[in-house]
Each structure stands twice: as C-alpha cells, then as structure tokens.
Symmetry: T
Subunit: 159 residues, 12 copies
Amino acid sequence: MARVLVLHGPNLNLLGTRDPAVYGTTTLAEIDRELVVRAKARGASLRSAQTNIEGELVDLIQGARGRADGLVINPGGYTHTSVAIRDAIEAVGLPTVEVHLSNIHAREEFRHTSLTAAKCIGQICGFGAQSYYLGLDAVLARVEATRADGYPRKTGQRR
Amino acid sequence: MARVLVLHGPNLNLLGTRDPAVYGTTTLAEIDRELVVRAKARGASLRSAQTNIEGELVDLIQGARGRADGLVINPGGYTHTSVAIRDAIEAVGLPTVEVHLSNIHAREEFRHTSLTAAKCIGQICGFGAQSYYLGLDAVLARVEATRADGYPRKTGQRR
Amino acid sequence: MARVLVLHGPNLNLLGTRDPAVYGTTTLAEIDRELVVRAKARGASLRSAQTNIEGELVDLIQGARGRADGLVINPGGYTHTSVAIRDAIEAVGLPTVEVHLSNIHAREEFRHTSLTAAKCIGQICGFGAQSYYLGLDAVLARVEATRADGYPRKTGQRR
Amino acid sequence: MARVLVLHGPNLNLLGTRDPAVYGTTTLAEIDRELVVRAKARGASLRSAQTNIEGELVDLIQGARGRADGLVINPGGYTHTSVAIRDAIEAVGLPTVEVHLSNIHAREEFRHTSLTAAKCIGQICGFGAQSYYLGLDAVLARVEATRADGYPRKTGQRR
Amino acid sequence: MARVLVLHGPNLNLLGTRDPAVYGTTTLAEIDRELVVRAKARGASLRSAQTNIEGELVDLIQGARGRADGLVINPGGYTHTSVAIRDAIEAVGLPTVEVHLSNIHAREEFRHTSLTAAKCIGQICGFGAQSYYLGLDAVLARVEATRADGYPRKTGQRR
Amino acid sequence: MARVLVLHGPNLNLLGTRDPAVYGTTTLAEIDRELVVRAKARGASLRSAQTNIEGELVDLIQGARGRADGLVINPGGYTHTSVAIRDAIEAVGLPTVEVHLSNIHAREEFRHTSLTAAKCIGQICGFGAQSYYLGLDAVLARVEATRADGYPRKTGQRR
Amino acid sequence: MARVLVLHGPNLNLLGTRDPAVYGTTTLAEIDRELVVRAKARGASLRSAQTNIEGELVDLIQGARGRADGLVINPGGYTHTSVAIRDAIEAVGLPTVEVHLSNIHAREEFRHTSLTAAKCIGQICGFGAQSYYLGLDAVLARVEATRADGYPRKTGQRR
Amino acid sequence: MARVLVLHGPNLNLLGTRDPAVYGTTTLAEIDRELVVRAKARGASLRSAQTNIEGELVDLIQGARGRADGLVINPGGYTHTSVAIRDAIEAVGLPTVEVHLSNIHAREEFRHTSLTAAKCIGQICGFGAQSYYLGLDAVLARVEATRADGYPRKTGQRR
Amino acid sequence: MARVLVLHGPNLNLLGTRDPAVYGTTTLAEIDRELVVRAKARGASLRSAQTNIEGELVDLIQGARGRADGLVINPGGYTHTSVAIRDAIEAVGLPTVEVHLSNIHAREEFRHTSLTAAKCIGQICGFGAQSYYLGLDAVLARVEATRADGYPRKTGQRR
Amino acid sequence: MARVLVLHGPNLNLLGTRDPAVYGTTTLAEIDRELVVRAKARGASLRSAQTNIEGELVDLIQGARGRADGLVINPGGYTHTSVAIRDAIEAVGLPTVEVHLSNIHAREEFRHTSLTAAKCIGQICGFGAQSYYLGLDAVLARVEATRADGYPRKTGQRR
Amino acid sequence: MARVLVLHGPNLNLLGTRDPAVYGTTTLAEIDRELVVRAKARGASLRSAQTNIEGELVDLIQGARGRADGLVINPGGYTHTSVAIRDAIEAVGLPTVEVHLSNIHAREEFRHTSLTAAKCIGQICGFGAQSYYLGLDAVLARVEATRADGYPRKTGQRR
Amino acid sequence: MARVLVLHGPNLNLLGTRDPAVYGTTTLAEIDRELVVRAKARGASLRSAQTNIEGELVDLIQGARGRADGLVINPGGYTHTSVAIRDAIEAVGLPTVEVHLSNIHAREEFRHTSLTAAKCIGQICGFGAQSYYLGLDAVLARVEATRADGYPRKTGQRR
C-alpha cells in the first residue's frame, strides 16, 4: 500500500477560517480529510502535517524516509528562497510534487520562480484545494509506475 | 455538455516518434485519444490541435470563443516569451490551464518563468503525458463549478 | 497620390467584438473604414491587413515595397520582442509610424519598451482608435514633406 | 470653450535658433503660434510656457487646475527620471498628452522609457514639431469626448 | 481597551547586554517595560514576545487574531527576505507597524528594502528604542481612529 | 529653546485640496499649524516651508545652519533620486528625520528605496499627517538628548 | 550521398534586391545556386528554403528528419529569442551549423548572444555570403566524419 | 583550555546514512567524534550541535557567549540568505570559521556567495569532512594567537 | 581674448565654511578668485556662478552661448542623473570640461558614472580645488587650439 | 603573396597532449602544419605563435603590422574580458577572424559573448581544428577581395 | 613522495615588507620556508613560485604536469576574472586548492566570487599565512587519499 | 627633487604612428620627452615605461617604491577589469594619478567605470596628450603639498 505524506507550509493553517466570502470556507482540516478519502479510494494511506517553521519542514521531509513513498508539499512563502527545503527534498530522494493554492505566475514578481520545485517531479499551482488533489493523483501515479517498473525513479529526473 | 479544446505548441508533434528509450513511445495522437476518452467519461467533449506557429496558437485560442468552454494549452517554447498568446488567453477569457511535459523549474534558467501562465487559472508541469490529464481534470472542475454557480469566473482570477 | 498600408498585429481582430461596456463597440473593420475615409480626404489611398502571425507581418511589410509610400503598424504583442519585424521595417525603408491603442507606459513593465519603434519615424500610444488616425496624419505628413523636398527621408532618421 | 496648456521642458527654448541646417529653423515661438492657430480653429484656447527647472514644471502643472481642461507636455530630459512631474500629473488629474520631438526609442537606452507617461493618456514621439500638433488633436479629442459624456475621464485611465 | 502585541525578531534579545559603551545599556526587558507604561498611559494594554525563529514570528502573528487590536513588529534579519511573515501580516489583517532600531537605509545595500513592510501601515527606523515608542503611538492612533469610525481599516491600505 | 524646520517637497502643497473623499480634508497649512502647536507644547519653536523645486530644498536645508537645531523633511518625489538633497543633509549636519505620508514599501518598486534617508537619523513612512508628528517627536528627542550630553551627535550616525 | 538542407530565416529573401551599393548585388537565389554547385563538387546534394515565419522554420527543421544529413541555418531575427527553433534543432538531432551574414558581436547588444546556437555544432558569422559557404564546408565535414566513424555524433555535443 | 563549539546546519544530520557509494559512509556523529579527539590533542574541549532550524542556529550562536572561545559553523542552506545568522555571529563576536563539505563555487550560481562568511574570520569549503578538521585548526590558531596577545581580536576583522 | 565660464552645482557654496579641519578653509570665493588670476595670466577672462537648482545650471549653460568660449562645470549631485544638463551641454556646443573635487571612483557606487561627462571634452576629478585649475588649463588649451586651427571643434568629439 | 598570422591564446599549447580519448590526438603543431599547407595551396604564406600571456597577444597583434595581411586569432580565455586585445585588433586594422575550437554558445554563460570579436570581420566557433581551417579560408577571401578592389576594407566593418 | 607546487599571484611578493604594524612582518619567503618544513614533515616535497603576470600563472600550472602531484594557488587579483587560469587548472587536472590571505566575503563585492575556485577541490580564505598551511594539509590529504585508492580523483569533482 | 614615474599601458606604444589624419602625429616618445621637459621645469625628474602586459604594469608599480615619489598611469584596456593593478597601486601607496587620452564616459559602456581609479588620487580623461601633462601637474602638486606638510598623505584618501 502506497504511503503519502502531505506537508503544508506557513500560513496554510489559516485556510478557511478567515474572510470566507473571499477565500471560501474550506479549512485545511477539510482538505486533509478529503485527501485521506481520495488516497484510500486509490488504495493508499495518507498523513499530513502543517508548520510555520522552515526547519520543521526540513525535519518532516527527512522523517519521511522509510515512512512514506511519496510527498506532496506546499512550501508556502518558503518556496521562493529556501535552499534548506530544496536540499532536503533532494537528499531524501522521495518522489515529491509541489502544489500551490494560487497561481504564482499571476502574483508579485518574487513569487514567479520556485527554488524548491527544481528538486520535485513537478509543480501544480492555481487550483485552490484542487491543487492538492491533483498533486495526490500525480504522486500516486509516479509511485505506482515505479513499483510496476520494479526500480525507483529519482525525484527531479527529467522524463 | 462541457467542451474542451487542447492546444499543443511547437515540437510537441515529435512526441513519441523519437528516442523511445528516453522519451517513451507515447505519441501525441495517443495522448489526444486518451484525453478524448477521459473527457467523455466525465460527460465532456474534447478536440485538440497542434501547430509550430505562435500566431496560429493565437488563431486557435481566438477560435475557441463560442466553441469551447475551457482550454488546456502547452505553449512549448513560446511559454517564456509570447506576449501575443498571453494577450489572446486574456482577451478570449475562457478558463485555461497551462501544462508542460517537463518540470520547467529544473531546466535552463530561461524556462523558469512563464509569461503566458499569468492569464491562466493555473499551471501543471513535470508529469509527462499525465500533465495533460491533470490539466483536463482541472479545467473541467472549473467549468463545472462555474455552471453550478450560474455565472462565469474569469480566467486568471485569483481564488 | 500617396499610398498608405495599415498593418494590425495579433489579437487586434478581436476589437469591438468583446466586452463592449469596457472596450467600446468600435470594430477593427470600422477603424479601417474610417482610415480609408480620412486618407481619401487627404488625397491618399489606404489599404489594411491583420494577422496574428509575426512572420506574416514581416511578409506584409516586405510586400509594401513599391506598393505603398508609408506604413502605419500596430505590432501588438510582437512590439517588445520582434527582431524580425524591426529588421523588416529597417530593410524596406518606408516611412513607418508605430501605434498602440493603450498606453504602453502604464501597463506591465515588459511593455514599456519597443524593439520595433527604433526603426520607425515615431510612436503614438494610448489614444484608442484615435492612435491610428493620428498615425495616419503623421505618416502622410512625412510622405508629403518628402515629396515636396524632392528626395526621400529614411525612416528612423533623427530630425 | 476648451482650454489647453502646453508645457515645454528643458532646452526646448533653444529650438530653431541653432544649427538650422540640421534642426530646421522652426522656433519654439513659431510652434506655439501654430498651436494657438490650430486650437482656435477647433474652438479652443491655448497657452504655453517653457522652463528649464523641473520644479517649475510641477508648479505649472499644479497651476493648471481650474485654468485648463487639458495638458500637452514635453518634459524633455526630465521624462526619464522625474517622480515629481509624474506625481503632479496624477495629482492634478487633467487629461495630459506627453510629446517628444525625437523618437525616444531610437536614441540612448536611458531614453527608451518614460516615468511620466504612465500618468498621461498617451505619448507621441518622433515627429518633430508635428508631435505637438498631434498631441493637441489628441488632448482636444479627449476633452470633447468627456464633455459629450457629461462626466470626466481621469488621465492615465486605460481605455 | 486597545490591546497591542509587540514582537521582537532575531538577535534583539541581546540588546543592552553587550558592548554597553557602543549600544547603550537599555535592555529589551527595559524597552518592554517602558512600552507597557506608555500603553497604560494611553489606556491600552501591551504584551510582547521575542524569538529568533522566523516561523515562530508567524505563529505569534497568527496568534494575535482575536487577542490583539494592533501589532508592532521588528522582524530583524527576516525583514528583507521573509515571504512567510509578509503573508502572515496580510492574512491576519491587524494594523501593524514595522520598526527598526537602526536606519536600514544607511547600512548594507541588502537592508535597504523591506519585504514585510509592504503589508504594514508603515515603517519607522533609525531611532533606537524610540522607534518602538513611536511605533506604539502610530499603531494606537490607527486603532483609535478605526474605533471612532466604527469600521476597521485594513493594514497596508494607502491612506 | 529647540528650533525645528519642517520641509515639504513637491506636490505636498496640494494636500487636502483635492479628492477629500480619498485623501481627507487636512491641508498642509493645517498640518503645519498642528506641528507648531505640538512643538510649542514641548518648548520648541517650529517653522516650515514647501517648494516643488529640488534645488530650493537644497537652499532651505543649507539655510537651516545656525537657524535650526533639527530638520523634518518630506522630500516627496526627490526621495528616490536626489544626490543633491542627500549631500545637503550630510553637509549641513543637523539631525534630520525623513517622513512620508504613504508607505513607500507598498507602492511602485522605484519608491521602495530612499537615497536621502541614508544621511538622516531615520525614516518614518505610512502614517499620513501623523508621520510628521512622529517625526517631530523623533527629532526633538535627538536634539534634547544631544543637549543633555553637552556635545552634538552627527546625523546619519548609527546608534 | 550526403544531403544538406539550408534554411534562411526572416528578411533574408530581400538580400541583393535593395541598396546594392551598400549590401552588394548578390541575391539569395544566387547564394543558393552557389551552394548547390559547391555541395555537388563535394559529392553532396543540397536543397534550401526561406521563410519569414518562426514556426515554419520549426516545420522545416522537423521535416529534415530522414530527408537530410545536415543543416545550415540562418535564423535571422529569431536567433536571439526563439526557444522553439532551439528545441527543434535539439529534437531532430541532425548536425546543424548556424550562420549569419553580419558579425553579431559588432551590432546592437541584443544580437550578441544566440539562443539557437547552443544546440548547433557551431556558429559562423560576419562573412556575408561566404558564411554560408563556410557553413556548408563545416556541416559536410561533420557528416563525413560521422560516416567514417560508422556512428552518428549528436549535434550540440562538445568536441 | 580553549573551548570550541561546532554547529551543523540543515540536512547535515543525513550525512553518511544515505547513498554511501556516492557520499561515503562517514556520519555526522563520526565527524563530531573525530573533532573531539583532534581538539583534545590540541588541549581544547569541543562540543557540537545540529539543527535544521535557522533560528535555532541563532539561539546556539548566542548561547556560545561565555561558554565557548571559538565557533566552527556550517550554515548549510542558510549560508546564502540568512541575515539573522550573520547578525548573530557579528553580535556575539566570537572568532568563527565557516565550513562547507562541498565546493560552493562549483555548484549552482546561488551558492557562489555567502552572506554569513562576511562576519567570520574566514571560510573553508570543498574538502568533505576535512573541511571541519581544517576549520578546527583555523579557529584554534586564532584563539591561541589572541591569548598570546592578551587581548581579543574581533571576528570579521581584516588581517 | 578667450572667455571662460565656470559653473558650480549644488552644495559647492558650502565649501570652506564648514569643518575646516576636514575640508580645509578654502572657500568657493577664493577658488573663483584664483581662477580669475590664472585665467588673466593666460590672457583670458573668467566669470563664475553657483546654483543649487538643476534647471538654473541649464539656464546658465544656455546663456553662455555667444558670451563664453569655453565652460568648466562641476555639476555636483546632478552629475549622475541629469539628462537636462547633458542635453544643454550638447545643444550649446561649447568646449566643456567637467570637474569634481573628490574622486568619484572612490565613493558610493552611484557616483562612479557621469551622465553629463559624455558631452564634455573630458573629466577631471579627485584633486580638490586643483581640479578646477586643471580644468581651466584644459579648456583654454582647447579654445586656443581651435583658434589656431581657424575652425571650431565640437565638444564631446573624440580626438 | 598574402601573408597570414595565426595566433593561439592561453592553454591551446596543451591541445592533443592530454586525454586523447576525449579531445583527439591532434596537437597544435599539427594544426599549424596543416594551416601552412592549406595557405600554401592558396598561394599564401602563414606563420603562427602561441602564448599564455594576454599582453603578448597584444604584442603579437601589433607586430603583425607590415608583416601580415590578415590575422586568425583564438584568444582563448581572454575572449570574454580583454579590452586590450580588442583595442589592439582595432588599432592595427588588419582583417582578423576570431576562431574557437568549442561552441562558446553551448558552454558556461560567461563564455556566450566575445569582447574581442566586435573588432574582427567575424567569428567561427565549435568545429575543433576545422575552425582554424575555415578561419583561414575566411581571412584569405577578405584579403583577396581587398586586393581585387584595389583598396583596403577595414576590419569590423559591416558588410 | 608527494610533490606540491605552491603558486603566488600578483602583489603577494610585497607581503611582510610593508606596513608591518598592519600586515605583520611575515614575508612570502618565510611562508614558503614554513611550507617546505611542513611538507617535509609529512614526507612531501614542495616548491613555490610567484609572478604578477596572469599568463605566467597559466605557464606554471601547465608546467606542473608530471612534476607535481597537487597545487596550492593564491591567484590574487586574477581570482575574480581569469578564465585562462580556470581553464589551465581544469586542463592540467591536478588536485588544486585555492587560498586567500584575506576573507574575500568581507571585502568589496567584486571579490565575493571566484571564477577559478570552480575548478579546484575547494577554497580556503581569511586566515592570513595560515590559509597556505591549511591549503597544504588539504591538498596532501587529497593526494594521499588518491594514492590509497589507487586511482586519481579529478580536481573540481564534487564529493 | 620630486621623482615621477609615468606608466603607459597596452596599445599606447602605437600612438602617433598610425592614421595621423585622425589621431595626430604626436608619438608616445614625444609625449615622454615633453613630460621630462615639464617635470624639469618644476624641479622634478621623470622616467616613463610602456608595456602591453598587465602583470608588468604591476611589476613597474611595485618597482616604484623607494624610486619614485608619485605615479602617473594610463592603464589602457586594463582600467576596467584589473584587480591586480588596483591592488598594486593600493599596496605601494604612492600618490598616483590615472589619465586617459580619450573621454571614457563618451565611449562604450564597459569603459565608463574604472576599477583602478578608486585607489588613485584622481582621474583625468579626454584631453589627448594634455591628459598626461595635467596628470603631471596634479601629482607634483600632491607630492609638493605632502612635503610642505611634513607627513605623507595616502593615495585614494578623500580630501
């Protein structure tokens, strides 16, 4: 059974508890529950965690070694500057998908690039909660393909 | 019934016909067939087109007005420099999802940003043929949400 | 009788057919008719063409040699990046006026400069359809001045 | 009766008094006279002023409130660096057209952008004295359109 | 009674305990006590906290929702690079004043800009401990004005 | 008795006389009167001046030598480019506080840095008229501290 | 028999038909004829094509697969910005030589670099029509060396 | 007896536990043990700590005051962006040596510079575990030289 | 008899009246007197003027036409940004030498380049008051050489 | 008889003596011999020289005046930074062709531009030893064309 | 017996002969003697050379082939710009350690990066004469490790 | 008796021997003779040297210690990139004046700044041979002032 770890970065804990007229009323807990349901439907297990601290994201990524087969990560504000998260994703070597609620290409210029995505399989941004669901699909597809092959494919590897 | 148009930019016609050991043997025609099947399964119709010419992509985007409810586009090499495609997506106003086979954040620096994605709902990159399938899911979700609402949401709009 | 060619670049064909509350209801065809009327009133003839394809703009500029005495061009999204159009304007050597509907200096930063304008007599931007009418005035004045002189003045030449 | 104020920035007072073989013999006074004639022909009044001092251009723009319905300004060398003139045009809110004798896109790179034009309706450059005449046409068209509408349109507003 | 939270970022805990000849002998505890006294004198309550960890500043900002009416923050070295703190200030929406002991414009070039200040009401820098006292005045003035109005003004909003 | 000179740069004379719904109805004269009252309450005298001309700001700063003990300056649009004002503040050596009505960090990118603030004690921005009142507090605190010390502290000096 | 395809980009069709005093009277047709003669003399066949359209250059490069053993390409104005042509050269994998009539290093700064040359064997610029003849020599040498080896060498490969 | 504190930044805890064929089998614990042995051999004591959290590195540096005579630090991914660590090293004022396992000049361009090294005595990079041993030699030499002198030399001071 | 005009820009009027221990006690008036003496010794007349206002420097340069044969100018803080002064020097066409008291290459980076010097014969910087005396020698040498030739050499002309 | 001088810059003396499996076994001496043979076959004489010292390349270029009719130069690592070699080529005025063994556009970004090529007729890169042979053809063609004309064409001159 | 060559670049010959109060009295000869002693103690031989000429450093590096087993190099002022030295280190392929007396990260910004270090094993900077001694340790460790392995490791290779 | 050393960098040996119509017929030898005469007239001795080699300029500057009291240097093409010459001037500490024949501010952009001038007293450019004569005046004035003072002033020191 494939095991997926979903990591939420800074400020994502506020989701759905503020300005519901603008951001909707979906909370992070609801997204996490939906992810569990969807993972289960595909025969996978899923855990998730949130932290506002960059280094704790590094801890969580490292902790996934041997406990997860794939990662979905939304590094939030650390996306654009965190060499530490980039290095952790590369070092741990699990297939990782980066997701963002908003379309980073349509926001301030400093959000247009991602330092962390370079070490992921790919990136999905702009679809709100659905970004996570698509990310789950993507990482499970990779985990399953790897298993079918019988040998792992490294994260960040060009197809 | 939701109608989706899938547009493939320059060099994507070569997919699957070259270096199968490296790039796999899936051809663009096969991806298009798979997309039709998946759309149909969700009660939608889907057409697709490929061109190497920037201005023909503009023509195709414009031509979608009134004939499609959503777009999936892989602008290929025009992603990073085409103001004309960016303007066309904005002018036509259909919900649009940008997709890329490879992870643009893991390639040459000039590929790290997208001029066209700013006017799309979001972007999906790095998952090979699956990028298209995820993109189809994303655009259909938006089209269906819009219909449920009873009023259209403009492309590029922050959620 | 002075002959003027008016060239419209990408997406200008959509003018007036979309969001009339925002952009007005004047279509490109109406602008072209008005231009013909105004040219005629000054004893000149005028033809116009639109294309979304960069290289066809090059074709049209080249085709003006011997068939037109002056050009009015709105290169649209190609304004900021097209070395090919810049080279065509320089090579053909006809007096050329660059026009834009919107004020390029008040939009995204990548629109603030023009690669093509350097090889034109000058540039007019920000006045909607009137940008074309002012551009026609400007190019006819140059053509007439040249004829009065008895020798041609090259485009791009500082006054 | 529409009232137009024309403002000439630094070094424009030298026009026509130096190197007539190169720059022609038209003086600034002659341009101003021609502008008055043209304004009158369109049922408008026109005054003009020249100064080499950036802050005096700010004074003159501010002084136009209540005394003019539209501005034509050639900020000369201050075009590329003056936040103060930019702010004055925005603060006063009169429809303003920026003009230049030479084609700024064909000169030194530091002249390719305009800080002040962002707060104008639009910009006209490259046509010598005719830039002013076209600018007068443009600003009168805007003033007249505003009057026909019955409500003012702010300067800098995208059409 | 208005409630103010004062947040001190990295290295501010060292204040006054080192090189008293150079930096003075005022400790952070003394500044905090003085802030309490001053807040009380204006009928407000004040709490403060210090941490060297970026994500804990995010935690503290988030925790202020419902427990404080305004924030004074010195993000220290995170001022220039922290998207996470910027996002937290924006998300929480409390009126926030950024303060710095030293004049950031007179130090190394990388300190001249602030990523976090864009989402604050304003910024005060260069006055040593007094920067905090001025910041307290500024945030209380905004909180009181908001109460007088009867409706909240969002942080970051231009006056 | 401490003497303070308050200098207002370009366009500040328009304050309160335009768009009261947006900018409020406080005029510059009212701010100046309030500053006099506040200075008097602290046993100080205060004069103020406004000019749109960069060089006149230099004149006024130079003229403060021997006639004022501290400066509060809002250099307006000259903040970001004026080497001359920067040099004048440094040369005259009076304690100087830079103030701005709006939050420069939340506006166009060219406003994010200040060339003049490097030679001031510090900078206060974003609090509307209150920026001036806080600036007065800050400069008086410095003047009084200097007097208590018995020797002057140079402006721009790191604390 | 080695087969060579020569591709001419935008504006090269004007060669020799304009300003013969400056650019000489050699037309593109004459260059093509000379190339055929020279290829024949080395036992090779040669075809050529010209287009002003970027995407048609992509089409032509793709079409060379299986029909040519080597390419000589002058991408003209597309040299400096075309990711699509760069990708096509890389995808098709034929040995390719980039040529330019003029010395790109002695012209405007935006012409000093080539995006397309990175995927070619090498580049030849500055020798007028001779650039093509040298390019033919270079590509034939590579094709012949490859044949002598018995296995192909990929284009873009460092020697 | 000289006391040295060795600090390991993010991801260094993974050393030696992953891909032994590539990175060798030396773990961080083994490096720490070797460092203790080497320190002892020179009559010094040595402690070490690792954390993935930027602010905890700041805590650890601050905590070294009065408990260590010199620091060896490998800030890992925080090397290139951490103003907080830079400020902590400067504030604490202990002689500090920055070390890196890999040669930062031979990796991605964003790793070529160090923000933190400017406040250290010097930097050693590229020698794997040996970088730490050389760093220990360097910091002990400084500590011993300082003691011989009888007065401390500040870190960051040019020799 | 050759006539020289010496122009002093912003803040130069403070020379010698402040911090004599640092800057010496030579006043601008003394430099002007010395310049008159030196000019006279070479059979030339010399006048000088100082202003803090950029546009007045433009006025003074323009006013030199027909009244001076050469200029020595210290544009002070306007050196690095003034297009208006650059244009005035070019328009007036008198041989002009730019001088600076301090070595601009040894100060802040924004002082390393001169926008105005490009239109002068040359530049002299770093020699205190002597920079003016050397500048006088240089401009007189040019004026005399021109007279010996019998025809004027334009300023800015490469030798 | 045309005389050609071939100059080899730094590290080219190592050619063919190291890693023959990678770089081939052709030595610089063999290239030089082949060049002599080819020159002779075209009725020209040829000498060559190698040095690792930038200034000796300048000496050699200068020494070619009167002793050679054309130059072929591979400035090696000095290509990208040497103003001195650029100036020497311009000063001596002999027709010069720049050659490189490798394709500079496919290597590190700092190798993509050439400072020296701007003063040459053109540049040839990427063809290994053949770059020299093509360079010889190019320079002889220019020398012969010049002789046929009866007047010299300057190096660097656009065709 | 391992053979080490130590190369000193420009201005290092002045060491210890100037301003002894500031730079100490250790001369380069004394450093060289100490290096010989230390090498000998480790059973290695050591030679050293100094030159101010970039190309002679290239000569010396090349000359080390077959005569040395490892290099220690201080390229001085050539560190930041020399492609030729970078290429020589790469071409010769000996394990090389770059050393600097001062901490390049604490000096002018143009010294913060090294072009040459990318092709070395690593870099040591900031420790005065000790930088050389640490560099000797580092290069000998690599040479000895290589010998123990029985196969050479290339310089620049990531560990 | 003051001793001056004049150093001429690359390509200055060509002066006066080429294109006399353009550059005049004054040779470097003639300039050197004139410098000797002028030095003698001021009671000073003068020697001069020319080299095309950067490192030999370093040698010559170093050799001036104890043999000259001041330097005049024209570093030619090395002005803009030579850290080695900059360091040599700083290390030797003799008063040094940088001179250039042409106006570096009126040429290519890469010539607008000088790396070497930062360590000189000042710079003189644009006056042809007269730049040297003015440079001699400047350096002698500094040497004489130093002697009158009785203590040396360091080069590069701000006045």
